[in-house]
């Protein structure tokens, strides 16, 4: 659905909404337990990030942080479709993608707080979450670079015959940088087992993607030019994402090469920090909030006969987990000052002369 917004200050911008039919995946063949896991995953991302925001407002999380409130269905759906040894490449907006691979909340939150029990012991921060153990090969803060790096991980999997698939997330704004175009061609030429996932939340930073991009679907419209199969999906419906992800990953695993998914979604908040996102028309924000992935999914579960009380239990368990993670993270020591001088080099040190 598209509603023209004539009074929008940024030109002929349109409100873009996903299809209003929220029941179309009700009958997908997804085991109920998988759906309950997906629901829990959505809740974990939502509640974790709300806590991260609170801690940011209390000035306990420093620097910056980029939340994906409202965009959780994409991380959850892909996380559920990936094999344990598959590889994730994310952006600075990577909290949810990291949790989706099974990384525990405490080290993620502790990293945001700059503590020694953080995922990188305070040397990475919110924008650089990495857990090799969980196949999370990093979040990358320079737009576009990681698409090329994801290709390398996919090439290595292909070379080693490991059967691993690499999933690489990025935003709509990223499609206008050169590395995106180099990476797509490169992946297609060598038929790499990589799935590129554009989380199209309609804005780059503070500018509508429609105002600065020559094509309507910034990722999908260009993918074909590089020989990639692509599809545009409703990124707010976890089942739609899960189904799409499963098919794309299987295809890559069969050796049929890369593909691209453009998932339409919306961030509830601003780009980063305390950005209120005022550059977005309020009608648009409201319309999308009606299509919040969590109530959408909850509604489906209820239609499928799940007890409301059972879902409430999940919500409460997640809330308790977030509280516990907060306590554990805050209780962490500050990093050992000596650690600032370790791990530049593979010998563990940082010395550049004898």
């Amino acid at each position: 659905m598209r509603l023209p917004l004539s009074e929008h200050g940024y030109g002929t911008h349109q409100v873009v909404l996903p299809p209003s039919d929220q029941t179309r995946h009700d009958n997908d063949e997804i085991p109920l337990q998988k759906r309950l896991d997906l629901y829990r995953s959505l809740q974990e991302m939502r509640q974790f990030e709300k806590r991260a925001y609170d801690l940011f407002m209390r000035q306990l999380v420093k620097g910056t942080s980029h939340l994906s409130l409202g965009m959780e269905a994409i991380s959850a759906g892909f996380g559920a479709a990936m094999r344990a040894d598959d590889l994730t490449f994310a952006t600075y907006r990577g909290h949810a993608h990291t949790l989706a691979r099974g990384v525990p909340m405490t080290p993620v939150l502790a990293e945001l707080l700059g503590r020694s029990n953080g995922l990188m012991a305070g040397k990475g921060g919110s924008m650089h979450l990495t857990s090799v153990e969980h196949g999370v090969l990093g979040s990358y803060a320079i737009i576009g670079a990681h698409l090329t790096i994801a290709n390398g991980a996919a090439w290595s999997a292909q070379y080693r015959g490991s059967g691993q698939v690499t999933v690489c997330f990025f935003g709509d704004g990223t499609t206008n940088i050169g590395a995106f175009h180099e990476a797509l061609n490169y992946a297609a030429v060598y038929k790499l087992p990589v799935v590129f996932v554009c989380e199209n939340n309609l804005y780059m930073e503070y500018t509508s993607i429609a105002d600065i991009t020559a094509v309507a679907h910034p990722a999908a419209d260009r993918a074909a030019a590089y020989g990639l199969q692509s599809q545009i999906i409703d990124g707010n419906d976890a089942d739609e994402v899960y189904g799409t992800a499963t098919a794309a990953i299987e295809r890559a695993r069969r050796g049929e090469g890369p593909s691209l998914v453009e998932a339409l979604t919306y961030r509830h908040g601003g780009h980063s920090r305390a950005d209120p996102g005022k550059y977005r028309p309020s009608a648009e924000v409201e319309a999308w909030k009606q299509y919040d992935p969590i109530p959408v999914y909850r509604g489906r579960l209820l239609r499928l006969g799940v007890d409301e009380a059972d879902l409430d239990v999940i919500d409460k368990e997640v809330a308790a987990a977030v509280d516990l993670a907060t306590q554990e993270a805050i209780a962490g020591d500050l990093p050992d000052p000596a650690s600032a001088f370790t791990d530049l080099w593979a010998d563990g040190g940082s010395s550049w002369r004898n």
């Binding site: 090969l137 790096i149 390398g152 490169y186 080099w345 593979a346 550049w352």
Partner: protein, 325 residues
């Protein structure tokens, strides 16, 4: 012992490592079928096949991103950037990704990667194909930087670079590709971070790298005729830096000269001069002197390029003048 050109030594060094370790793979523009634009990868495709020696599109960011991602996940790639000037096109991947990732991930990710490239002037290619950029790389924490000056060292340092678990920028000097030299048979492995004294002397220490090693040696020959015994050091590796050899020589001679191809501002000689001034001031018998190109892009015409690249005559004159004053 075989006589090899510097360019053949590059292929020999890579082949030595590819034979030893299946994880070593080679990618770059024209490196497979054509054997490299400078013919530095001739024979690799025939011996190791298209799975391990791969021609890429002209996509410097994609090349280095792929090399990094592969290095993170179990391979040991050698990637070629045709001319070092083109690093400007993929500098983000080099500086922000390859160099920082190990540190930022608190050691979770190791990047055993070699990026080889044709560097430096002397071939009349003009300003966009002639720069010496090893000082750009030296300024970035997380990158190792080597520049061999002889065919033998090409093999030994290439082996060390491939076996290093850290990312190494391997600067081949374009002006040396056709130079011939003796290369011993069998496996050769050097150690990164080791400078070599190419000529012993007592009156002055001349530091040189890549192309300037030969010029410094020629200058030392001229100086010897005038009764000045100059010690010539081939720095070989800027990161890690062998300050022990360099400062040890300075302690003996009391005079330090650096001969570099970089434009005047912030070349590697400036860093070494500053270390010497900080740590060995009382060993110095006179001001440190840096012999560089002027702070200009390199011109193309023979007469102009020769004028601005440090020549043996310029080096000899500078040293002699300084010692007389």
């Amino acid at each position: 012992m075989a006589e090899l050109t510097y360019r053949d030594a590059v292929a020999r060094g890579i082949a030595q490592e590819m034979r030893r370790d299946e994880r070593v793979v080679m990618i770059g523009e024209d490196v497979a079928g054509a054997g490299g634009v400078f013919k530095t990868t001739v024979g690799l495709l025939d011996e190791f096949g298209p799975k391990r020696v791969i021609d890429t599109p002209i996509s410097e960011q994609a090349i280095l991103g792929a090399a990094m991602g592969a290095a993170m996940t179990g391979l040991r790639p050698v990637a070629e950037i045709m001319f070092s000037d083109f690093f400007a096109v993929c500098w983000d991947i080099v500086v922000n990704e390859i160099a920082k990732t190990r540190y930022m991930t608190n050691g979770q990710i190791t990047i055993p990667l070699v990026i080889k490239t044709g560097n430096g002037g002397g071939l009349r290619f003009g300003a966009q194909h002639s720069q010496a950029i090893e000082n750009w790389a030296m300024a970035v924490p997380g990158l190792k930087v080597v520049t061999p000056s002889t065919p033998r060292d090409v093999v030994g340092l290439m082996a060390a670079a491939v076996r290093s678990d850290d990312p190494v920028l391997f600067f081949e000097h374009k002006g040396l590709y056709s130079m011939k030299g003796e290369v011993p048979d069998g496996e050769i492995i050097d150690e990164l971070g080791t400078a070599v004294v190419r000529r012993a002397g007592t009156d002055a220490t001349i530091l040189s790298l890549g192309l300037t090693v030969g010029r410094a040696l020629d200058a030392a020959g001229q100086l010897a005729e005038r009764g000045i015994q100059a010690e010539v050091i081939d720095v070989r590796s800027l990161v890690p830096l062998d300050t022990r050899t360099i400062l040890g020589s300075l302690a003996k001679t009391g005079r330090l000269f650096t001969v570099e191809e970089n434009p005047r501002l912030l070349g590697w000689g400036a860093e070494i001069a500053s270390i010497a001034a900080e740590e060995c001031f009382w060993d110095l018998d006179g001001p440190i002197q840096r012999i560089t190109t002027p702070h200009i892009p390199l011109p193309s015409a023979d007469s102009l390029e020769d004028l601005v690249l440090p020549s043996a005559d310029v080096v000899a004159t500078a040293v002699e003048k300084a010692l007389q004053s």
